[in-house]
């Protein structure tokens, strides 16, 4: 398979790996003017980010939904698990801002409480993918030889399974029982399935940046001075590849949230009584519901899309800031 399939979302170029030790992407050829401090990759990127309104918008959205996931009580005092069947499918009113769903639950309260499932699955899946992918990628890139061949073939095999189809298959075989599986276990299960299918994206990224950095003189020098592989990786290789891993992980986080919602929508991810945007939208779809209570569909959809948008936008902006070729 060709290498362009490295990430489901990242169709544009990924941040290049710097080949100098200090990491300055825009290392000035001439000596810096008097009084001007040496600029690092971090300050450069931050200066660029600060000027972009997209960065602030996405950061604010992520903060907003993060707060919603952590402290839903801040946003609503209504209990999302209390249903009033006599008010089922009521349109939005002063009593229930977003209206009520088919069971008479408050759509606003459930939209607020739904943030937690999405954000948790997204964060866990991204963390698992970053850890597994980085570890395997570093081993493959650093050891090279047959270890690299074997690990790369394994990665190719997992890339051969489309994410959503694989997710459906694995969650069908290891189902979440609605009544007996605790919420966190359900979340972890979905995240783990996404990680099992998703790790090769980061693995390939890490592997190629290790292979790019390894032959450099400063790495050879460190090795000649007797630095252990752990130290070489920690001090010289990781700092060089972190930027692209962070960018791809941020964009992937948005994608994993969307996939979780899709799986829950198909009735195979999180299970009610768990509260999640995917489940809410699933309950709201169907032609009868769409006609009778479109508000059930609209509000969770907006929340879900804004969350995904925030992460993809942040990844985009950070990549632009780190990649001077696009400036």
């Amino acid at each position: 398979m060709t290498d362009t399939r490295d990430s489901g979302l990242d169709t544009e170029s990924v941040v290049p790996v710097t080949t100098d030790a200090g990491g300055g992407l825009e290392a000035p050829l001439s000596a810096p003017a008097k009084g001007e401090k040496a600029r690092s990759l971090g300050t450069d990127a931050w200066d660029e980010l600060r000027r972009r309104p997209m960065f602030w918008i996405s950061a604010a959205l992520i903060l907003f939904f993060g707060l919603m996931a952590a402290f839903p009580q801040l946003f609503t005092s209504t209990d999302p698990t209390v249903a009033d069947l006599s008010k089922a499918r009521e349109a939005p009113s002063a009593d229930a801002w977003f209206g009520r769903d088919g069971q008479g639950y408050d759509v606003y309260a459930r939209t607020i409480y739904g943030a937690r499932a999405s954000i948790l699955v997204g964060v866990f899946a991204t963390l698992f993918v970053a850890v597994i992918g980085s570890l395997v990628g570093i081993i493959a890139g650093y050891r090279a030889g047959w270890a690299d061949s074997v690990l790369s073939r394994i990665a190719e095999i997992f890339l051969g399974i489309p994410l959503l189809l694989g997710g459906i298959l694995f969650l069908y075989i290891f189902p979440n029982d609605p009544l007996t599986t605790p919420f966190l276990v359900q979340v972890a299960k979905v995240a783990l399935v996404l990680a099992i299918l998703g790790w090769p994206t980061i693995m390939r990224l890490m592997r190629s940046s290790v292979m790019q950095v390894k032959p450099n003189d400063y790495v050879q020098a460190a090795r000649a001075l007797g630095a252990s592989p752990t130290r070489i990786i920690g001090a010289h290789i990781l700092p060089n590849s972190m930027a692209s891993v962070i960018v791809v992980s941020t964009i992937n986080l948005g994608a994993y949230i969307a996939i979780e919602a899709t799986l829950s929508y198909l009735g195979i991810g999180l299970q009610p009584p768990a509260i999640s945007w995917g489940i809410q939208i699933s309950e709201a779809s169907g032609i009868g519901m769409i006609r009778a209570a479109p508000h059930m569909l609209v509000f969770p959809s907006i929340a879900l899309s804004l969350t995904v948008l925030a992460f993809i936008m942040l990844g985009d902006v950070v990549r632009d800031a780190l990649d001077p070729r696009l400036r």
Partner: protein
């Protein structure tokens, strides 16, 4: 060229074996293949024993897998608990799904490439910002949200398109095909824009300009063709996403295709159908990508001569 094709074919074999092995192990060795075969209750002992014998589950894992692959090669994906062969169920439905998928691929190529070219040529202008922002939005909205809203707005409220596509005629499939293509349109537009912008900075473009060629000719003949190559690869990869998307789209518009069959099989806990369908789809995905890779060798001679 011949060498390249043979190398690609050989590289494909371990991937196919690996993918089927992982799926087999997950389903038959780690998971419980009798889940849901007896409705909501657990299966009786006698049934499980017969099932294990019928499906060779009492033999060593590698023998089980080889027997399973033997059946697969002969086109046997198993019999579901309605007593129907999964292959027959899929055969009856695949024309509809193929039609939907083809329409989606045409839509995403035409709109995506056009938008990407417009944005790439007028980089930094209004049209560029418009394409960048709208593709970002399209990518962010999950397909089941786009589908539900399209059904609500264009089907129910405005009445421009049929609300459901039960018979699967071309007219009925227009709206579902747009929904299915929506995210891919955005990816293709972005990919095209990035490729074009990068190629426009290449040396050969400067040479062409220096020779006095018109802008139209430089872009239309020299740059566009080179920029299209990665897009073709993307469409191959995208088949995987389209298959997933078809499950959602066919559910929303009640299209009688493979995706809807998979969705209903999940609901009915019909494991044989779920696993058989996914194995079949994954194999198609791998084969399509093999074809795209080979095509890539023809389009970009640099690839096949290394």
């Amino acid at each position: 060229m011949g060498k390249y094709i043979i190398r690609r074919l050989l590289q494909m074999i371990p991937v196919i074996i690996g993918v089927t092995f992982i799926i087999y192990v997950a389903v038959f060795a780690l998971g419980d293949p009798t889940v849901g075969r007896c409705g909501e209750r657990p299966c009786p002992e006698g049934y499980i024993a017969k099932f294990r014998a019928d499906y060779n589950l009492d033999k060593p894992l590698i023998v089980q897998y080889l027997l399973y692959m033997g059946n697969l090669v002969q086109g046997d994906l198993g019999t579901n608990f309605f007593g129907n062969k999964v292959v027959d169920e899929l055969a009856a439905r695949w024309p509809t799904t193929l039609k939907l998928g083809t329409m989606a691929v045409i839509i995403e190529s035409v709109i995506g490439i056009t938008a990407g070219v417009l944005a790439g040529v007028r980089r930094g202008k209004f049209i560029d910002s418009l394409v960048t922002v709208s593709t970002l939005l399209l990518i962010s909205i999950p397909i089941f949200v786009i589908g539900s809203f399209a059904q609500l707005i264009f089907g129910v409220r405005l009445g421009w398109f049929p609300v459901t596509a039960t018979q699967g005629t071309t007219y009925q499939l227009i709206l579902p095909a747009f929904v299915l293509a929506s995210a891919s349109v955005a990816y293709i537009a972005r990919l095209m824009r990035a490729n074009l912008a990068e190629n426009l900075r290449a040396d050969y473009v400067r040479t062409a300009k220096a020779k006095g060629l018109t802008n139209r000719r430089t872009i239309g003949v020299h740059t566009l063709r080179n920029s299209l190559i990665p897009v073709i690869t993307f469409i191959g990869i995208d088949i995987g996403a389209l298959m997933g998307g078809a499950v959602v789209t066919e559910r929303i518009f009640n299209i009688n295709g493979i995706g809807n069959f998979l969705y209903r099989s999940i609901g009915q806990k019909d494991g044989t159908s779920v696993v058989g369908t996914i194995v079949c789809l994954v194999l198609i995905y791998l084969l399509v990508n093999l074809l795209v890779d080979i095509l890539y060798g023809f389009l970009d001679p640099r690839i096949s001569h290394d």
